[in-house]
């Protein structure tokens, strides 16, 4: 016979808890002692006042202790009551390119890039294919990749895949393609270029009483000894900015109170090779996200390119021409290559003015998204590269050799 059913009939724990509940609500009865003592002139003091020592606690600095983590609230040294609107690496704008144009006072004069002469790259095509395979397939990195999800059955857990992470694919691909183009270009041109990694740009401005700051990293920045010449001298006053009414142009920018207002151009202008030439922007799909989980659209990717390029050009112009300049004495031109490892998007930005509400406007040219290849992966145990498109490398070559 098991004794436990009988023993458990009286639930001791329950009784115990009940007892505590009733006893804890007991009130101390006032026996009127305090009153009587006061009548007799005996001073009455609270027991706590005598028993508890009144000594101010000294703060002792203990060497080697980990400092307390900084609290991100109004006690933070960089707290400001005025809210700033920021745009960072992983943000996209709701209306994409249209909204970016309004923010940066930019117009597109025509579809596509200005006239470019694309050279044949037959000589290096074989090597380009090798580079694509090396960065997409043959690199031996095995890190845990983002979770695989099937929208049809969202609760299904797939085994985690190990492989090359997207930032690494982009880094290897861009570095090796750049190196290849440098090897095949004229040494005189190559000597004028410099490749900067992991730089930081920051540019701030006020627009209709909003304080806005773009804080972006330039993962790879190509600089040159002399700035790029102006692409167009066409007057821009007559062009209209896009209209996204009733949406406010500053929508989906982050609202922050902890910030530093700062303008940063990462390389000192005392160096000869300090003029921005081309910015290479990686698009890591798991990091660049909408606020409300919708997939990132093509227009939003274009908008990201424009804002990144604008930040580079504007921070450079501010460093070069000072804080007060509005219409630039000489336009600043920066090229942009935006890629997720497979699709490439090329743009050219001409900064005419830093006055973002004036009549003179900045100019933006861009291509669509061009695929470098159709597929590049292991297919039935064999590394396969299909549908290679040499237009991309031609554009890259033309961008690099643009003087």
């Amino acid at each position: 016979m098991r004794p436990s059913p009988h023993l458990c009939k009286q639930h001791l724990g329950w009784h115990f808890k009940k007892l505590w509940a009733t006893q804890s609500a007991r009130k101390i009865r006032d026996a009127g002692i305090e009153q009587k003592l006061l009548e007799k002139g005996v001073p009455v003091v609270k027991a706590e006042d005598i028993l508890w020592e009144k000594r101010p606690l000294e703060k002792i600095e203990v060497v080697g202790l980990k400092p307390k983590p900084v609290v991100f609230d109004h006690t933070h040294p960089n707290w400001h009551d005025k809210t700033i609107l920021t745009y960072r690496d992983n943000n996209v704008l709701l209306k994409g390119l249209q909204q970016a144009k309004i923010l940066t006072n930019t117009v597109e004069l025509k579809q596509g890039l200005p006239d470019f002469t694309l050279k044949s790259t037959k000589k290096i095509d074989r090597r380009v294919k090798e580079i694509i395979l090396t960065s997409h397939v043959f690199d031996a990195e095995q890190k845990i990749l983002p979770k695989v999800k099937d929208p049809e059955r969202p609760a299904w857990n797939f085994p985690r895949v190990y492989g090359i992470t997207q930032p690494r694919v982009i880094k290897l691909l861009l570095n090796n393609l750049l190196q290849l183009i440098e090897n095949s270009s004229d040494l005189e041109v190559v000597k004028q270029r410099y490749v900067l990694d992991d730089t930081h740009f920051s540019y701030n401005f006020e627009k209709s009483s909003d304080l806005i700051q773009f804080e972006l990293t330039g993962d790879t920045l190509l600089t040159s000894t002399k700035p790029l010449p102006a692409v167009t001298e066409e007057p821009t006053e007559s062009f209209q900015l896009p209209d996204i009414h009733p949406i406010k142009p500053t929508i989906t920018l982050n609202k922050e109170n902890i910030y530093e207002v700062r303008g940063i151009y990462p390389i000192s202008l005392k160096f000869a090779k300090s003029h921005p030439h081309t910015i290479f922007v990686p698009h890591v799909e798991t990091e660049v996200k909408n606020l409300y989980e919708e997939p990132v659209t093509e227009a939003q990717i274009f908008g990201r390119s424009l804002l990144k390029t604008f930040t580079v050009a504007a921070s450079y112009a501010k460093e070069k021409y000072g804080n007060d300049v509005t219409v630039l004495p000489k336009p600043v031109v920066v090229q942009c290559v935006h890629t997720n490892g497979r699709f490439f998007h090329f743009g050219i930005f001409q900064l005419n003015t830093l006055d973002l509400e004036g009549g003179v406007k900045n100019v933006w040219f861009q291509t669509g998204r061009l695929p470098l290849f159709e597929t590049c992966c292991y297919k039935v145990g064999r590394p396969v590269l299909e549908g290679y498109n040499n237009e991309v490398i031609q554009y890259l070559d033309a961008f690099y050799n643009n003087v």
């Binding site: 090597r127 090798e130 395979l133 090396t134 397939v137 043959f138 690199d139 031996a140 990195e141 095995q142 845990i144 985690r160 190990y162 880094k171 290897l172 570095n175 090796n176 190196q179 440098e182 090897n183 040494l187 190559v190 000597k191 410099y194 490749v195 900067l196 990694d197 992991d198 730089t199 930081h200 920051s202 990293t217 940063i264 990462p266 390389i267 000192s268 005392k270 160096f271 000869a272 090779k273 292991y378 039935v380 145990g381 064999r382 590394p383």
Partner: protein, 544 residues
Amino acid sequence: MSALRFRRPLLNCVKEYRYVSTGLPQEDQYSYTPQYPPILDISHEKVAAKKKEAEYEAIKAVKTVEEKQIKLNMSKYYGFKCYMLLEEYIPYNNLELIQHVTRTHLIRDENLPNFYNGIDVSSLLTAVKNDIEETILIEMDQCRQKVDLHKVQLNIGERENIVSSALSKQINRIIINSMSKHYSHIDSAQVDFNPRIESLWFAGGMDPPENIKRCKRGQEWRKNEVDAPTNRAMNYIGTASVALRSNKPLRPILSLSESENPDFIVPRFKLDPRTVGTANQFRHIANIPGFWPGDPNQFGLLSYHQRGHHLTRHYKDPEDNLRAIDRQGILSSFAWLNSQANFLGFTTFNDVTYPLLTQTIITNGQLWSFFVYQLNTVLIHSKHIEDNPQRNICWTTPVLKLYEGIVDGKLVGFNDQVLQNLLKFYANVPEERLGVEMRPYLSKEEKVCGDYQDDDQRQWLEREYKHLVSNRPRHALDYEIYAWEKIYKIDHETKFLDKKRRPFEYGIKPWNRKLDERLPRYIPRVHRPHLPRWKGRYAKEYFP
């Protein structure tokens, strides 16, 4: 039979000759002088050694690179007990151990070996010097870096590594740009950034650990070999900030016969590696030189390594700091070459048939150490630690300063000698080895698993190989004997009335599981409609 029960070796021999022909003797089988079969030594050591040799021959006979790596792993389902040698963690007094386990003779000299005297780089030097000076100034000046702006907490070593990896990348770019027009090997070289480099090999000659001794003491027939040295799996994990590789190997400095010279002394390290701060981990054998089999550029030219981790060593012994640099140079060179050798079809049990060379640079931008490493042998286990006449050779320079400092935005005391050394590394032209079979232990038709015609086999091998070498964490905890079981059930039989439930109570050793002792992938019923219900349930497997 009763006699056989006590003579296990004899039993093994009988097993080998189980099938005996009983046909009638023929006339031509007779000879005037009797021809006896060879007399085999049936002592335990000899039989075990013979068995091992047969295993090594079986590995040698495997056709492709991936299959060879799987074959090496076949004996251990849960992986091998590895002694971890990490590039970025150098305990005190580690050089001797590393020289022993890599069988390396170290030659310290002010200059690079005489081999490099024939390479003229004076014209190159003038071409790149100004650019390199400018680069150093820009990178050192670039204090407005991402880490500072994002206020990332970094220690002193990590901070130095950021500058040094940026500088190595820039210097590499400048040199390649100015050399690619004249040197075809530089033009076609593949540049890797932070490649994953892993290597595993077996090293012998060190005293056995206490648990092995205890085990042998308990076996009557192994009592005489209690103190015999045992093999250990040495596992290196590291990376290079920049690495160059090519489709042709570098020329060796010494021939194989020259490197048999007994004057090339390799120190013996007899203690357990754990005595000098090496930790254990269970891992599968993975040899990865930064790329997968099938990449055409298989031979390393040179690699840049960081030295930020030397700043966080706290032993306060300047001499040991210098030894630590040598340790890093030797180990990273050997491990990279060993993993390349594995991709050429050699393994830790099947020695290389020709020497391989690599050039290693350890730098933080200002301090530079140069290493030239020639791999002559990877056979370092068991008796080979005594018998193998080959030694690996490493030439190294002292730590050199490229410049003294930066004063008023200009470099002071630029040392051309350092830059010359660096350029000589780049100008060392790799060559095809004429008359040498580069992959003698790989099949003629199939060198990597992608060469197989069978789709299913190709796919299986590719998947299993990558799964194995990823060394991903297990989904369930490994089997273990808990401490209380060891005390109350094994050492002292105090719970004899308890039901026996655990494997050790039945003499089963779960860790002796082989790699293929598992269920193959299940094929759902819908995918085999043309077969009866009980057939074709499990997918075919292709273990070598």
